[in-house]
């Protein structure tokens, strides 16, 4: 290729301040294969792109080097422009003389020399570029949603309403997640059950939603548009097709004293149970760990009383395979374990707050269950220790959150608001009670949020004390809270009846294992990482996988719902086409030379390398070679660097091209 055009951008002043762009253009004109070179103030602007297109036509250019910013920024822009001018877009490359040169150097002469070198290297690369054709892969227009909390429900409903099938997988026996546990929600104080349960019913009634509760993701294969998901349906011991949800089994179960996890162990449930009366599906499940029948085989009452004969002790775990084109991950959060150091965790606990030792020191979610009309006390706020109504309640914010020493340095975002809500709920139920809140900062960004917080103080008369609590201890019937008011500058001591700790939000247990199955990345706290914090906040770096809700980071309900709908919109964008176009920058195996050592398979982070059998006409196996699935390959080049026989190469980055680039230096 001998007619290459070089277009040098000033980037306003970003490049031209340090690099003599005219000199670079002049040098470019002397390079082998360059037919045309020019510079312009904003190459990415409309006049800049027109300049490029005009030059292609007038100079009959066959390749393009745009010396400007990073390809991450504008490669697509200029490739589109090249395509508009009638060139194969992959014959257009970017020389990064901004991030790699002008921004990091001060010396004008040296920076100009370096920019010239970068341009020269890219010219060499373009000389050896080949036309590439985008890869198309078919799209299975079905989506998988992992997690049946408000995020998963919202995403599933949105996608299903657009006419696509959705497979919704939930680990617990019922969908609903944490939101179903809440009493009332900020900043409007509408009852969580009233807004949540109808959504749950919508899910189970939706013709496009296939619901798998009490199920987990076993394995994930495939790639964008073509995922194959194996789901483990745990044995429910109740036939969902036969069960009518009458509830007789639960009434008759002799095991009545099993702590109810849904009520944060405040109440009890039988061994055959639904987590809460409004559960969806309303089919009980047998807790085999606590069921007498499974412990010593001596009961069997539920089977005897079940009219439709739905109870089945022989039921086994089942594996179900579902084909989907996109995945929405919405696995939610758990609350930080406050007590002593949780086993096997890098995160430390708070011994000084006595959680787990003092019964009247509870966490925020436990308080929600106490305040909830569907909770174990029917909405009456009482002390877990003696059932008395607490007259002085102390709330402590930032327990675990923003505590670098404990291993969590982030803000959990929702605690300020839900604590303000708790003080209100308490005041509404115990009129002569007094709520105190120890806080470090009040973080209330959000529509009507700060007003809500001020209302808790100014109208509902909660006493907010700026300063952290040092210790909580039992003194007779009371729980003494030692803190300080930093506005007054003195220590504060409160003899409380109940202490509520606003504990940090953490990703669900097993978030890391699921991420490894999905091939998505996560941060040091195990929150899932988005592809770009600002511009791609709901997409994973792995194509075809999207995020919704608190699994990505602490979020409140409005934000979670917004993100879930955004993820659904992304899925719909994907499903709007029958075939998916992908960049053809993928690895290609030269089957002639491949010896089938599969070193490439071992290093491939995306699972793109497959084994391919080469057979003769009679069908006899000759050799097994590597094959790179272009739908999965992300073009990282690790296989190319690893291959001992140099028989796998990345299109656009062949060894020949890279060597030519180096040799020209």
């Amino acid at each position: 290729m001998s007619r290459i055009g070089v277009f040098i951008c000033h980037c306003g002043e970003n490049i031209s301040r340090t690099v003599d762009v005219e000199q670079v253009a002049q040098a470019a004109r002397q390079m082998v294969g360059v037919a045309y070179a020019c510079d312009y103030k904003y190459m990415c602007s409309d006049p800049g792109q027109t300049l490029l297109k005009k030059a292609v036509a007038e100079q009959r250019l066959e390749g393009i080097v745009v010396a400007a910013c990073s390809p991450r920024m504008h490669e697509k822009t200029f490739r589109n422009a090249a395509q508009g001018a009638g060139l194969n877009p992959f014959l257009c490359e970017m020389a990064n003389i901004r991030e790699h040169c002008s921004w990091v150097h001060d010396d004008r002469a040296e920076a100009t020399a370096k920019a010239t070198d970068i341009v020269r290297m890219l010219v060499e690369r373009v000389r050896k570029n080949k036309k590439l054709i985008p890869i198309t892969v078919p799209v299975t227009k079905r989506a998988l949603v992992i997690g049946g909390g408000i995020a998963g429900i919202q995403a599933a409903l949105d996608i299903a309403d657009c006419g696509h099938q959705v497979v919704l997988v939930e680990r617990e026996p019922s969908i609903g997640g944490h939101m179903a546990m809440l009493s009332e929600t900020f900043p409007t104080l509408d009852c969580s059950q009233c807004i949540m349960t109808p959504r749950m019913v919508d899910v189970v009634n939706h013709p496009n939603i296939i619901l798998h509760t009490y199920s987990e993701i076993e394995s994930v294969d495939g790639y964008i548009g073509n995922f194959s998901i194996t789901i483990k349906k745990k044995a429910r011991s109740v036939d969902m097709a036969k069960c009518t949800g009458c509830g007789v089994c639960m009434e008759k179960c002799p095991q009545k004293k099993i702590p109810n996890e849904f009520d944060k162990n405040l109440g009890f449930r039988p061994a055959i149970y639904v987590p809460f009366p409004q559960a969806v599906p309303n089919t009980p499940v047998i807790d085999r760990e606590h069921c007498t029948k499974f412990i010593n085989g001596k009961c069997g009452v539920c089977q005897k009383v079940c009219g439709p004969g739905a109870v089945d002790y022989e039921q086994q775990d089942q594996l179900v395979v579902e084909q989907v084109g996109a995945i929405v991950v919405a696995t939610g959060f758990k609350l930080y374990d406050i007590g002593e150091k949780p086993k096997g965790s890098a995160i430390k606990g708070y011994g000084e707050f006595g959680h787990g030792k003092i019964p009247d020191v509870i966490d925020g979610l436990t308080f929600e269950r106490l305040a909830s009309a569907s909770g174990p006390t029917g909405g009456k706020i009482v002390r877990p220790s003696d059932g008395k109504e607490p007259k002085q309640v102390v709330f402590v914010q930032c327990v675990g959150s923003r505590a670098r020493e404990k291993g969590i340095s982030y803000c959990s975002k929702v605690c300020c608001m839900y604590t303000a809500k708790h003080t209100m709920l308490y005041k509404h139920k115990v009129h002569d009670g007094q709520a105190y809140v120890f806080f470090m900062d009040a973080r209330t960004p959000g529509k009507s949020y700060d007003e809500f917080w001020r209302r808790a103080i100014e109208e509902e008369e909660a006493v907010y004390i700026r300063g952290m609590v040092s210790r909580v201890y039992q003194k007779g019937e009371k729980v003494v809270v030692m803190g300080s008011d930093i506005a007054v500058g003195v220590q504060v001591e409160i003899e409380a009846d109940l202490v509520v700790l606003a504990t940090a939000i953490q990703p669900r247990d097993g978030a890391d294992t699921l991420a490894q199955k999905l091939g998505i990345s996560y941060d040091k706290y195990h929150f899932y990482s988005e592809a770009h914090a600002k511009l791609r906040p709901v997409e994973c770096a792995t194509a075809g996988i999207y995020l919704a809700g608190a699994c990505q980071g602490p979020k409140d309900i409005p934000e979670t719902v917004a993100q879930a709908s955004a993820a659904a919109a992304k899925v719909m964008t994907l499903f709007s086409k029958d075939k998916l176009e992908r960049e053809p920058i993928v690895a290609r195996v030269n089957e002639k030379y491949c010896v089938g050592c599969f070193a490439c398979k071992k290093v491939c982070a995306y699972g793109a390398v497959e084994e391919k059998e080469i057979r003769d006409r009679q069908g006899n196996l000759i050799r097994v070679v590597a094959y790179v699935n272009p739908g999965v390959c992300s073009g990282c080049g690790t296989c190319q660097a690893t291959c001992p026989s140099k028989s796998v190469e990345l299109d656009g980055y062949t060894d020949e091209q890279v060597m030519a680039m180096l040799e020209t230096l």
């Binding site: 002085q392 006493v463 007054v488 504060v492 409160i494």
Partner: protein, 197 residues
């Protein structure tokens, strides 16, 4: 006066005097709970360096119903009522009015600051008005010095003020003392009925 400035606060419904908060709010006509402790009042207060509790802490102590702590300090008597705080407060807390209210409450409560010179001066001032119908500065200064035990305080200013006619040897009596008395009686009456603070 017991120094309770740095002692621990034990907060409970018994120790937080909600009546005090309400009283201050009624007297001053300003919300106290609205303050979120930004500190702007203290930032601009010209008397801050003389105060034991800065203005923002005064508000905080009222919020917590800690009237002993507020009244034990002398901050309220150093307040010059310049109203810088009220003018600049982002939450429309009228701190100058609150300070007025606190001074009033301190007086009524026979608070520890009752013996302060400020209070003494105020009392003598009002007594003079009651007696003469207008201010009699010479007497005010003399009685103040005697009662406060600072006999020679500002004595050297006397001749200068006298020569300029700012200070009179003898009082000039108001001709309508009966009217003045009526005013005082009316206020007393209003106080009894609860119409005036």
């Amino acid at each position: 006066m017991k120094n309770i400035k740095n002692t621990k606060m034990e907060l409970s419904q018994e120790t937080m005097n909600v009546g005090f908060i309400k009283k201050v709010e009624t007297l001053s006509g300003s919300s106290v709970r609205r303050c979120f402790q930004c500190g702007k009042c203290s930032a601009g207060c010209p008397m801050r360096s003389f105060m034991d509790h800065p203005p923002n802490r005064i508000v905080r102590l009222i919020q917590l119903g800690q009237w002993e702590r507020v009244l034990a300090g002398r901050s309220i008597w150093y307040c010059a009522s310049c109203e810088t705080c009220s003018t600049r407060c982002p939450n429309k807390v009228d701190l100058a009015a609150i300070m007025d209210a606190l001074r009033k409450l301190s007086w009524d409560a026979d608070g520890p600051s009752k013996e302060s010179y400020v209070q003494l001066a105020n009392r003598l001032f009002i007594n003079n008005i009651k007696q003469y119908g207008r201010q009699y500065e010479m007497r005010l200064a003399a009685v103040f010095n005697v009662k406060s035990g600072q006999f020679l305080k500002d004595l050297m200013l006397g001749p200068k003020l006298l020569s300029k006619g700012k200070l009179k040897m003898f009082h000039s009596k108001n001709k309508n003392l009966a009217e003045i008395e009526k005013i005082f009686n009316r206020i007393e009456e209003m106080r009894k009925n609860g119409d005036a603070p």
